[in-house]
Symmetry: C2
Subunit: 356 residues, 2 copies
């Protein structure tokens, strides 16, 4: 292959004997350029296979036409859908997407903020890693509009779009209580992040309201190995072992909530192996409504997370912030929590075999 340097405006200009400037305007479809010249220029550009250099354009325009997306783990189906939605919506607005994966590493998280700053992205959407996270506030203060996704850091004055986990957990738990459960527990991964905290709070609230007290703590912390096995969804095996313990210890709850549907897989197995019937002996409720959840036996009752809605809302909020950036009135951070629906299936119905 011949070392074919890329065609530039200059090449077209030279080839046609006009100025670079004219070529630029012609191709940008600005007026103040003759019909004939424009035609000639466009033809020549096509002939030479001219492709504009986004880099150069961005440099002078001062806008990268790029959004940054920082995700902890694309293999989490919820985040996978966010990626799709955000990329798509950003693209329809003309923005390219720079994706960074942090794998729950505070270090990578910090460097991600730095990378976005260096590239000068026009806006950032971030699922922050657990921990402090003032580097995100610093990014924001550096003049880059940003919105936190799914995980809120209450101590930071940053926009946030996520799920109303508190309400969802509350409703789901109430549903189990109404189904007759009097002793419940909740499996949650041991990450100090807002979704977990909110689900726990909603769960507890429902218990309190129902006048249910338990001897020990009904919240079971699953030492998920997710952080070790990079780039994997949650590990059902972790929940499986804990559920086995519970079963073998004899103090079996009559309902189990899990923070994500993957944990339900482990719980299902532990119960089944012990000869217990899910949805009958023990009710189970999850979070995520992943594709497999409808196909388990029995079907899993679970909270459907409005991923597309959240992705869209986040991008729209970000674009709005980008537009009003530079305006005087610094509006306060917006914390938006989307409500979500509970998908009721046989695992919570004590329904002796009905399948959904």
């Amino acid at each position: 292959m011949v070392e074919s340097r890329r065609v530039t405006l200059k090449d077209i200009a030279k080839s046609l004997g006009v100025s670079v400037n004219t070529v630029s305007r012609a191709l940008a479809d600005k007026d103040s350029v003759g019909e004939d010249t424009r035609a000639r220029i466009k033809a020549e550009a096509a002939r030479l296979g001219y492709v504009p250099n986004s880099m150069a354009r961005s440099l002078v325009l001062g806008s990268a036409m790029t959004l940054g997306l920082v995700i902890t783990n694309p293999s989490n189906p919820f985040y996978a859908r966010l990626i799709s939605t955000i990329e798509q919506r950003g693209r329809t607005h003309g923005y390219s997407l720079m994706l960074l994966v942090t794998e729950e590493s505070p270090d990578v998280d910090r460097r991600a903020a730095d990378t976005l700053l260096r590239w000068g992205v026009d806006g950032a959407l971030v699922v922050p890693v657990q921990g402090e996270g003032e580097h995100w506030e610093r990014l924001h203060e550096s003049g880059i509009p940003m919105v936190c996704l799914n995980r809120d850091v209450p101590t930071l004055d940053l926009d946030f779009v996520g799920v109303d986990y508190h309400h969802a957990a509350y409703e789901a738990t109430r549903h189990l209580v109404e189904g007759g459960a009097r002793s419940l527990c909740l499996f949650e991964e041991d990450l100090p992040i807002s979704p977990v905290a909110e689900r726990v709070a909603g769960f507890r609230k429902a218990l309190t309201e129902a006048g249910i007290e338990s001897s020990g703590d009904p919240v079971i912390s699953v030492p998920t190995r997710r952080r070790e096995s990079l780039a994997l969804p949650w590990e059902p095996a972790d929940a499986y072992r804990l559920a086995q313990d519970i079963v073998s210890q004899g103090d079996l709850p009559d309902a189990i909530m899990v923070g994500n549907d993957y944990f339900a897989l482990g719980v299902y197995r532990a119960l089944t192996e012990a000869g217990l019937r899910v949805g009958d002996d023990v009710l189970v409720g999850g979070f995520g409504d992943h594709p497999f959840s409808a196909y388990l036996s029995p079907g899993l009752t679970t909270v459907r997370l409005p991923a597309a809605q959240i992705g869209t809302a986040a991008v729209d909020l970000l674009l709005q912030r980008m537009r009003s950036h530079g305006d005087d009135g610094e509006t306060a951070a917006e914390k938006r929590r989307e409500r979500c629906g509970l998908v009721v299936r046989a695992s919570s119905r004590a329904s002796k075999g009905t399948m959904t």
Copy 2:
């Protein structure tokens, strides 16, 4: 917030009374700059909160320090893992990642190639959408090294790293035959892409070798709705309905292969609802070994796809191409197909209850 323009080399230079150039070299840790000056410059840079402008740097260096990744659907768990792996490996080599999602749209696919060209990425990793795809060849000829992922386009002379689906399907089918199956069928989505074609071929080869002939075509094309419901994994419901048809028509095969584990979910349900026992009355084998597959009852026998391995290999091949770019000897395109293992579980064991 004060309209705080970003700090540049010029600002540091002015503030210290040195030339921009010196600042540049000091910060880049080049020699030919005095120890004291360097210290003063670094201190001032830190004080002012200087952040290098990657855009400007890339423009002059002629390298974007960016890789492009084009994916059809991040919600496909296999692709999600590819995204993680590729981002991670690219990052360790200093590259940022620009992600484009094509959603099986030939149009978006074409524009993706254009976008990558405009940004002048240093290399591209692409899961091409079905169809022609000479726009990818054009990108390649424009001087951007690229590697196709998972889907090969044999008519294009492009590097490719993927799965040896042919061999995997062959082995899996043989496994079912050895398990006693004499009448088999294969569920495959109706996309004209190489993975499907190769699995079909491997499946057929195994049948032929076993001397198995069927009256009709054993390959069942699933009109997957994936393309309509953007950003979702495969739809088990599609396979469910087709499996129902097969069951109700009475010509039940004694083994069913499916092109992805999600289809197995549908097949499981159809069989179970008909009172048939998976792994006993009908053997089932899948592709993907998704997290849920081990937790179905019975556990699903399935081909484990080496996603991380493929992601890594693809990036490494790409980096190698990038390094040797400009060299005279144009090496021929490399087509690499990774072997993968079959995870045998109860769905293929006719094992009356053993669970894995």
